[in-house]
């Protein structure tokens, strides 16, 4: 079955035991995003430290309801970006977006994935083959970008 290519062990692990889940204080911005086609929802907070140019992601906390892909994606994302500068975290986000839009073209085997940047998020490569699930994987990332923009420009 092709299923294993989508549901990598990393994804199932994060789904069963999500990291950084739960809404925490302090935070600079909170957003609520939904996937209107399936009803998945995420409430996400960001806490930044440092001035605009040097801002660093001090914390990302979230409460989410949805499928394994959207839940695991939020968990992997928070692992990846907490502690990074906003600039570096945005680079990861852009790389992840490119991966999701690759329609399955990028794969670890072909070496076309930027694994140094994506780290555990490369596990989502299989998801990009299923257009209906891409929005699930992107839900938390889009919420984080939105929240960060609001935190930087209150």
């Amino acid at each position: 079955m092709q299923l294993e290519s989508m549901y990598q062990e990393i994804i199932l692990d994060h789904y069963r035991n999500p990291h950084h889940k739960g809404l925490r204080e302090p935070y600079d911005a909170e957003v609520h995003h939904v996937n209107p086609t399936c009803g998945d929802e995420v409430t996400l907070r960001v806490h930044l430290e440092g001035a605009n140019g040097e801002a660093r992601v001090a914390d990302v906390s979230y409460d989410a309801m949805g499928c394994s892909i959207s839940q695991a994606s939020a968990s992997v994302m928070s692992d990846l970006i907490i502690g990074k500068t906003v600039k570096d975290a945005m680079t990861v986000g852009d790389e992840f977006l490119a991966l999701m839009q690759s329609r399955g073209a990028a794969s670890p085997e072909e070496g076309s994935l930027n694994e140094d940047v994506l780290e555990d998020a490369v596990a989502f490569a299989g998801v990009s083959k299923y257009p209906a699930r891409i929005k699930c994987a992107l839900l938390a990332w889009m919420a984080w970008k939105d929240a960060t923009a609001r935190a930087l420009n209150p």
């Binding site: 299923l3 949805g66 892909i69």
Partner: protein, 439 residues
């Protein structure tokens, strides 16, 4: 058409009405798409007819023949093709009217059921500025519009918007834990202030068929109009508008073996005749001057622009196809499949049916949740096995919210489904449990 022989090997038992099953082996030959394969070369098990049905060759041929032999803009031109196209279009209207027990002048073609419902909602807000004849449709502050919590967004959002435009108040019937319409407060909810009741004839999520007669009886007492969203009933059970006693019904062609891009609003003649138009333009006018225009009588008043003639012809053929089978037999077939599905799914530990547990006052739509597996993930495993189902909130978000769940997995049946399709569904659910390690 003979009924299918059911081999005793596939779960037949004396108490289930399997003798009601149609000869699906023969019917399926009419549906080219059902012989294609899907992921991994697996045969297609199509259990998403509630979203859209597949189309038999007869419907596709009827559309093709219209384009190849008679195509012209209907109700325009004096040439032979225009005449033939108009005859085909109006002939289709007559077939469809007969199919639902109405008369052709009461059948308005729309894009789909959604547009049909919007037509009525917009006619009601346009009524305020359309003269004394339309005054009975006008709504404003103090008036009420009554819907139900089990509506598809198509029969909810247009009424929310009507209320937002006019200042009227939206009220709704709730849903019981069993997935039935809660009519316990009907006498207060449906009162002298109620201008229209808009309710589903069969829930697209729960399968529930609400007691329409009781709602109609009360609506008549207080003088409210009744609109029935029949998108999930006209394709699946015999529907007779006179017997129902409602004022409007709306349905879509694509859910009943017909083409997409065509739907129907049926309305009582005297009501349609007094209603102001929704979409305006060519075809629907009587006299046009720079200072203003007058409009055609119904149904033309509500059919602005060159209409979807080929789709009307296709829908007419779909009605004939269903009539050849017999709507009683379509209903009985789906009832047998639903009984079997409720049983097969019900015996799986961790599966909960969302909706009535029996086939009593219920159609062939079965929603369920699988413990600890999100519906999207259930759907993904089923898809991998070639089983096409719908997952999500099914354009009826308030229902899943009512049951405190994020979404459901939904299987919906039609004439071409058989017991083996139900088996594939149940087996797939068990495979999902195995894959995600929950059973």
């Amino acid at each position: 058409m003979s009924t299918a022989e059911v081999s005793p090997g596939i779960g037949a038992s004396a108490e289930r009405p399997f003798s009601a099953l149609l000869d699906t082996e023969r019917l399926r030959r009419d549906f080219p798409i059902l012989s294609r394969t899907v992921r991994g070369g697996r045969p297609l098990v199509y259990l998403d007819s509630g979203a859209t049905s597949q189309k038999p060759r007869q419907v596709l041929d009827a559309e093709r023949e219209f384009y190849e032999r008679h195509n012209a803009a209907v109700h325009r031109g004096a040439h032979l093709l225009a005449e033939e196209a108009t005859d085909a279009y109006e002939g289709a209207r007559a077939i469809i009217a007969r199919f639902i027990g109405g008369v052709p002048g009461e059948v308005v073609f729309t894009k789909n059921a959604t547009e049909a419902i919007n037509l009525v909602a917009y006619a009601m807000s346009n009524a305020a500025t359309s003269g004394p004849e339309a005054a009975r449709f006008a709504v404003g502050p103090g008036d009420e519009v009554l819907v139900t919590e089990m509506e598809h967004h198509a029969n909810l959002v247009p009424w929310q918007q009507l209320c937002a435009r006019t200042g009227a108040t939206l009220r709704w019937f709730g849903i019981t834990d069993e997935g039935r319409l809660d009519l316990s407060e009907i006498d207060t909810l449906l009162n002298e202030r109620t201008k229209i009741v808009a309710l589903t004839h069969q829930s697209n999520v729960l399968g529930t068929v609400p007691p329409v007669a009781e709602v109609v009886r009360r609506a008549r007492e207080v003088g409210a109009l009744v609109l029935l969203d029949a998108a999930q009933s006209v394709p699946h059970q015999p529907v007779d508008v006179e017997e129902l006693g409602v004022d409007f019904i709306a349905f879509s062609g694509h859910k009943m073996l017909g083409p997409s891009g065509i739907g129907v609003l049926w309305g009582r003649r005297e009501l349609l005749a007094a209603m102001p138009p929704f979409i305006t333009g060519g075809s629907m006018i009587e006299v046009v001057r720079m200072e203003g225009s007058t409009f055609m009588p119904p149904p033309q008043r509500f059919e602005a622009g060159v209409p979807m003639a080929a789709q009307a012809v296709g829908l007419g053929r779909a009605c004939d196809y269903l009539s050849e089978i017999g709507m009683d037999r379509v209903h009985a077939h789906e009832e047998a499949l639903t009984a079997y599905a409720l049983e097969r799914l019900g015996e799986i530990e961790g599966v909960q049916i969302i909706g009535p547990a029996t086939t009593e006052a219920r159609g062939g739509t079965v929603s369920f949740v699988v413990e600890d597996i999100h519906p999207h993930d259930v759907g993904q495993v089923l898809d991998e096995l070639g089983v096409a189902v719908r997952v999500g909130h099914h354009c009826a978000w308030p229902i899943v919210r009512r049951f405190g769940i994020p979404a459901t997995t939904r299987a919906s049946f039609y004439v071409y489904n058989d017991l083996a399709d139900v088996d594939a569904l149940a087996d797939g659910v068990r495979q999902a449990q195995k894959f995600f390690g929950t059973a």
